[in-house]
Symmetry: C2
Subunit: 406 residues, 2 copies
């Protein structure tokens, strides 16, 4: 997979629809965003105009399309305010005019007995549900992999827990007669405008997830109580709770029940769990479900030295597909563990939950780590398998942080 370290070119690709032509000129990158996202140091860059409404102090701007939440800005309330939620786009967004009349946005539904196109206004007559869920970039934690995979060097903050509201995909499918027999995948297609002159399959944002995801999938028009912002996929986004970011299709314009996975590059070769240095292909597992993961948000080195004495060590813990049940915290890099307490409300199987351990710390240096167990007994791994794309890193050892107590 080609990955250019040319920062100015990356900027061009990232900054707007006009720049799309550049992608065409450079040939046919299999996954445009992969090609366009080499190691980017976390410098203090201003927020790009399209997300000027976000809370700049809470965010790290890697590039205009890769913006991370600071560890210390993840809070202890369990829900991530939209102003602090990370941004990661695979292609330049469609024109912002699509949110001028949200109810007019159209979704084609195929692979059902009565395929048809519905407006958001029509979708709003079919059902209403609300689901708290972690939204996490597939590459969150990439910077902690030993093989140093190319791509945005996310720490912990390409993740947030938000509440999505919209219509259950199941309700829409039922209204259209149900899926055609024999379908095995739900394939969602994003409405990004594609560059001219290159094969759409090489860049289109189109993902397939197993039919089992139909159970809780949502066509969302609202996040955290507000109309879904354009930067996060408004007017309509396909939410597949428990699945990593890329599977949650922004500006979704088509949902199809399909016999096979899409042959879009982003599915066929991109977002595959292939060993470091190899190219992805369909023989490797797709990046789909997230697993148990937790990390410490405070104390954090980025906030400076911690004062000796009583300290509330807190962070967030998710099960991925199951609610967290138990969190342990280590202050000595994993040699010994103590049970932390879960706080706040249990927001369900797809949400994360804040945890806290009250302890006394003497001056010194500590390596603090956390380890979650979900409601099914699945324990956060000590190390996640390193892989070429740097995906799904949830290893507790790699996520441990060092703090100084003075």
């Amino acid at each position: 997979m080609e990955r250019s370290p040319d920062f100015s070119r990356r900027r061009l690709i990232a900054t707007g629809p006009g720049a799309l032509a550049i992608v065409g000129l450079t040939g046919a990158p299999r996954v445009a965003a992969q090609a366009a996202a080499p190691v980017a140091p976390a410098q203090a860059k201003p927020l790009p105009a399209y997300v000027a409404w976000k809370d700049a102090d809470s965010l790290i701007v890697h590039t205009p399309t890769t913006i991370e939440t600071k560890r210390t800005a993840l809070g202890s309330s369990g829900i991530t305010p939209t102003e602090r939620l990370f941004i990661r786009n695979n292609l330049p967004a469609p024109d912002v005019s699509i949110v001028a009349n949200r109810d007019a946005w159209q979704l084609a539904v195929d692979g059902v007995r009565q395929p048809r196109t519905l407006t958001v206004a029509e979708l709003k007559t079919l059902g209403l549900e609300s689901i708290p869920a972690v939204l996490q970039c597939s590459g969150n934690g990439r910077s902690y992999f030993p093989s140093k995979p190319a791509g945005t060097r996310w720490g912990v903050g390409a993740a947030g827990c938000v509440i999505w509201s919209g219509v259950p995909l199941q309700a829409v499918v039922e209204a259209l007669g149900g899926p055609v027999a024999g379908m095995r995948f739900i394939t969602g297609t994003g409405g990004e405008k594609l560059p001219d002159g290159i094969d759409p399959r090489t860049v289109i944002v189109e993902r397939s997830v197993p039919m089992t995801a139909l159970q809780d999938a949502l066509l969302a028009w609202e996040v955290n109580g507000e109309p879904l912002p354009h930067a996060h996929g408004g007017p309509l986004r396909l939410i597949v709770p428990g699945y990593s970011g890329v599977n949650n299709i922004k500006y979704v314009k088509r949902v199809a029940f399909t016999r096979d996975e899409t042959d879009a590059a982003i599915q066929r070769t991109g977002y595959r769990m292939s060993p470091p240095g190899t190219k992805g292909d369909p023989s490797f597992p797709a990046v789909w479900e997230m697993g148990p993961k937790s990390w410490i948000n405070s104390p954090a080195a980025e906030a400076g030295p911690t004062k000796a004495g009583w300290v509330q060590v807190h962070g967030v813990a998710m099960g991925g597909m199951q609610a967290p049940r138990r969190v342990e915290v280590s202050l000595d890099g994993g040699k010994t563990w103590r049970d932390a307490g879960l706080i706040g409300a249990n927001l369900g199987r797809y949400a994360w939950r804040p945890f806290v351990l009250q302890t006394q710390l003497k001056p010194g240096t500590y390596t603090i780590a956390s380890r979650v167990t979900d409601s099914q007994g699945n324990v956060q791994a000590e190390a996640s398998p390193d892989n070429a794309g740097g995906y799904l890193n949830s290893g507790w050892r790699a996520h441990a942080t060092q703090i100084t107590v003075a």
Copy 2:
């Protein structure tokens, strides 16, 4: 109780510390904000500068210190974004400079075995909890009372459900040796700067709540994952979950365990459930716990006519002190009822929860109402007792709304 309809005077009182002197000049209103808040029509006024960061399109500005969330802006996610949360202040706020160094804010704790003053930084070492809870102005729904009580004519939107994070008051009290024996109330004092020349007790924001509230009371520095905004009481607010707005002391500078209720006017004569036309006094119940209440957010007349056909009738339901268990919806003004479905996560006993009823509506006019039953079997009343202050209106009949289906 004197209530001046002079709008320009009300504006002066409301707009800044300099205007405080005006209060002094006018004599000694028992509860300044009561005196200063007669009927205010919901005109389209701009947001005042101190809350310019709020979402103007979601809000109705009654006065600069009384700002309501539109019914259609309450969303279906269960949590109210802070940008949409209502505002109601009893006195002009302390200078905004108090949030420049949040950790330095000081809280005096009295009526405990080891009384002392703690900074927010110190409070942060004592514990951490997170509680979703409805924040509702005591006068929310006032405009629906038949006696037309004076005061801001709130509809449904002087309420929101948010997540507070901070230290449990119980943890602070335990660290200070526990309450002195015989104390029956928790008395919180706000840090508003008081006008010179008048008896502080006539205007000070100081409230007493029963000791039973200690169980879940929180000293909060965060709301919805962000540092508590100054406009909502930052750097520190006493949260008494389940109790109406006035009991949740902004800029809290003192918490004391006391044998008796404070004799501040806002407690002694203000916020009492006295009959229409009477003055409050301690013989009438204080405005404390909230009860079961629900209302419809959509369809709503403010959004224009509803299209005939399938409709998702949705709203929010709270138990006050207990989680909602059941919601019924009526489309004929309370003659017949149908069970609605609760959606989203159960955020606990103090939160509200969205509900939805899917139905088909033919063209016509409908009076739609909702009625909640909490987990203890308490049912939302058909009518709340009318009272002089217009407090705690939760009657389902008064909250019914008329819509047109075309």
